[in-house]
């Protein structure tokens, strides 16, 4: 095989580029999981401890099973969304500082696909962590309604996609300003409060609660509690409405985030700061 390969510039369909890019990055993630097997196993094993923490806390305060389940579901969902929110900025920053980002950027794929592809595996493992937490909680006696699991998973994946959009926004920030954590750390801490991780958002005062409607966590946690708990707290929105809002959040959020990510990359190209 000599210079005849490839004979000319090959045009790939966009769908093919998406598939190639996603499969390449998922493969990198799988290789990285294999590089550090103990780290991978411990990461899954570690989720048992927050569940135990909430279980013994509920026992000590003589909380009802419903209160324990409310906290368990909120904490599991927040933990599951955390990777979707933060993994991209961590990976981009690592790649930027390590020097691998440039080798990814010189490959012939649209740059806007890179954040999406980079996030997929960690988002999936985040979802698995959330499921494991709920499963351990159920083993410890939390009453979980199994019949709604498919709908709960659908809502969880919508929430993950919405958090990916926010993560991509933070990645745009990182490309230009070299640090994405301040934005994403502030957002993820605020999302814990505003999304109602340990309580229903109805306990928030009105002058704070409006902000809850700006974070996807609130919709995901609310819908999951209604779907998984036997006696969920009363909430203004049904799981279906939460799902619809999340879907709109995903579409609008990704459109804005990918546009801004592309703009940030182009500005960084112009200024020559893409990997500095």
């Amino acid at each position: 095989m000599t210079r005849s390969y490839p004979s000319s510039v090959r045009d790939r369909a966009f769908a093919r580029k998406v598939a190639d890019t996603i499969s390449a990055y998922v493969r990198i993630d799988l290789v990285e999981e294999r590089m550090f097997p103990a780290s991978t196993i411990l990461r899954y094993f570690a989720v048992i401890f927050p569940v135990l923490l909430y279980y013994f806390q509920a026992n000590f305060f003589q909380m009802s099973d419903d209160a324990y389940t409310l906290i368990l579901v909120g904490a599991a969902i927040t933990a599951g969304l955390q990777d979707a929110l933060t993994a991209l900025t961590q990976r981009l920053q690592f790649a930027q500082e390590r020097g691998t980002l440039e080798t990814y950027l010189v490959e012939p794929v649209p740059w806007a696909l890179i954040p999406m592809a980079m996030n997929i595996w960690r988002s999936l493992t985040g979802a698995m962590l959330a499921c494991l937490m709920v499963f351990f909680g159920w083993l410890l006696g939390a009453p979980i309604r199994g019949e709604n699991l498919p709908a709960a998973l659908l809502i969880l994946f919508l929430g993950i996609a919405a958090c990916n959009a926010i993560g991509t926004l933070a990645a745009s920030f990182l490309i230009l300003f070299k640090r994405g954590e301040p934005v994403i750390m502030l957002y993820s801490l605020a999302a814990g409060v505003l999304g109602g991780t340990l309580f229903p958002i109805s306990v928030l005062p009105d002058y704070v609660r409006w902000a809850s409607y700006l974070v996807p966590h609130a919709y995901v946690i609310s819908a999951e509690r209604q779907l998984l708990m036997a006696n969920p707290p009363h909430d203004a929105l049904s799981p279906l409405m939460n799902g619809v809002i999340l879907a709109v959040f995903v579409v609008v959020g990704f459109a804005i985030a990918l546009y801004l990510f592309d703009r940030a990359l182009n500005i960084a190209r112009k200024w020559g700061i893409l990997s500095i």
Binding site: M1, T2, R3, Y5, P6, S8, V9, R10, D11, R12, R16, K17, D20, T21, S23, A24, R27, I28, V31, E32, M35, F36, R98, G99, T100, E102, T103, Y104, L105, V106, E107, P108, V109, P110, L176, F177, K178, R179, N266, R269, K270, W271, G272, I273, L274, S275, I276
Partner: protein
């Protein structure tokens, strides 16, 4: 794909200029700017590299070599001027340009260290859009080209610096590029491995008719490549042409004469100084740099009766380092440096 000029022209740069401006003041709240005033990294660079040709980019740090490479592969944009690879505009058709350009960055850390050689290539093959059966053929082929078949399934971290450099070259060759950009390919490699790598590159250029841009601080390597040279300084091209022509035009070899004794050596010193040369005395050895118009015979003839007291004479070619320093010291862009 547009037809572009001579169909052997692969990389064509015209008036390429890159000015880096300081980031806006408001941005410095988030990150300190790395430049405080505008800097011209490239200033009107013209260059053509044809199929089967190697062009060595030479220059001190900050000369603009990396900026030139980054513009071609799309990692930064030019402020003005144009760049084309196989007729594809590097500014507007970057994604397609990246299909035909193989880039070998200078650092090993761009590799996935705990993955195997094959896994590293599989990742990039996928991003290049190669099908499974193509990768199954192409990966062993490029590993064979760089003599890494025995290490195909070895973890990269276990490889020597020379092997890692060859893996970076294999990665650049994987998509079957028409142009190669090699940014200090032998940076961390020992001289013997570096020689092997450069021989490999020269063979590949001849075999695959690649257009190659290479930068290196090791001038003996540049000379061994027998390539075109682009001497750059502060973003400007100071010389463009082949090194042979550069030598012919600017070579000022050193003449070394060993005399019979120190008294004769002193006489020779005086005579040569009187002839307008600038000799240096070291015991019974006299050395002087020939000017452009003097030949060895003329210098010996100028010694008159002392010529018979010369025990040994030899002409020492000017090291490439001194030749290039002479080009830089000349202060203006030299003949032979025009775009071809």
């Amino acid at each position: 794909m547009a037809v572009y000029g001579n169909n052997r022209d692969v990389i064509v740069l015209q008036g390429l200029t890159k000015r880096y401006d300081p980031t806006p003041t408001w941005m410095r709240v988030f990150a300190r700017s790395h430049i405080t005033e505008p800097v011209f990294a490239l200033n009107g660079v013209d260059l053509v590299v044809r199929a089967g040709e190697i062009c060595a980019i030479v220059g001190p740090n900050g000369a603009g070599k990396t900026s030139l490479f980054r513009i071609i592969v799309g990692l930064t944009t030019a402020t003005s001027g144009s760049g084309h690879v196989l007729g594809l505009d590097v500014a507007t058709e970057s994604e397609r340009v990246r299909q035909v350009v193989g880039w070998m960055p200078s650092e090993d850390r761009s590799l996935l260290m705990r993955a195997t050689c094959r896994e590293n290539l599989l990742l990039h093959g996928r991003l290049q859009g190669m099908r499974k059966h193509e990768m199954a053929q192409r990966i062993p082929h490029v590993l064979e080209q760089v003599n890494l078949i025995p290490q195909a399934d070895a973890v990269v971290a276990s490889l020597s610096a020379g092997m890692k450099a060859r893996l970076r070259l294999a990665r650049a060759l994987l998509p079957g590029p028409r142009a190669l950009i090699l940014d200090e390919p032998t940076g961390a490699v020992d001289p013997i491995a570096a020689h092997g790598l450069l021989t490999l590159i020269m063979d590949l250029v001849a075999q695959e008719q690649l257009a190659v841009l290479i930068s290196s601080h090791r001038l003996e390597e540049i000379e061994a490549l027998q390539s075109q040279a682009l001497l750059m300084e502060k973003g400007r091209v100071r010389y463009h042409g082949d090194l042979g022509t550069l030598r012919e035009q600017y070579e000022r070899p050193e003449l070394e004469m060993v005399l019979v004794d120190e008294q004769i050596a002193n006489w020779v010193m005086t005579t040569l100084t009187g002839s307008g040369l600038n000799p240096v005395l070291d015991g019974i050895t006299v050395r002087c740099r020939l000017t452009g118009k003097d030949s060895v015979g003329e210098v010996l003839a100028a010694l008159g009766p002392y010529a018979s007291h010369v025990q040994h004479v030899r002409e020492i070619p000017m090291p490439l380092r001194d030749l290039i320093a002479h080009v830089y010291q000349s202060g203006s862009d030299l003949a032979g440096s025009s775009a071809r």
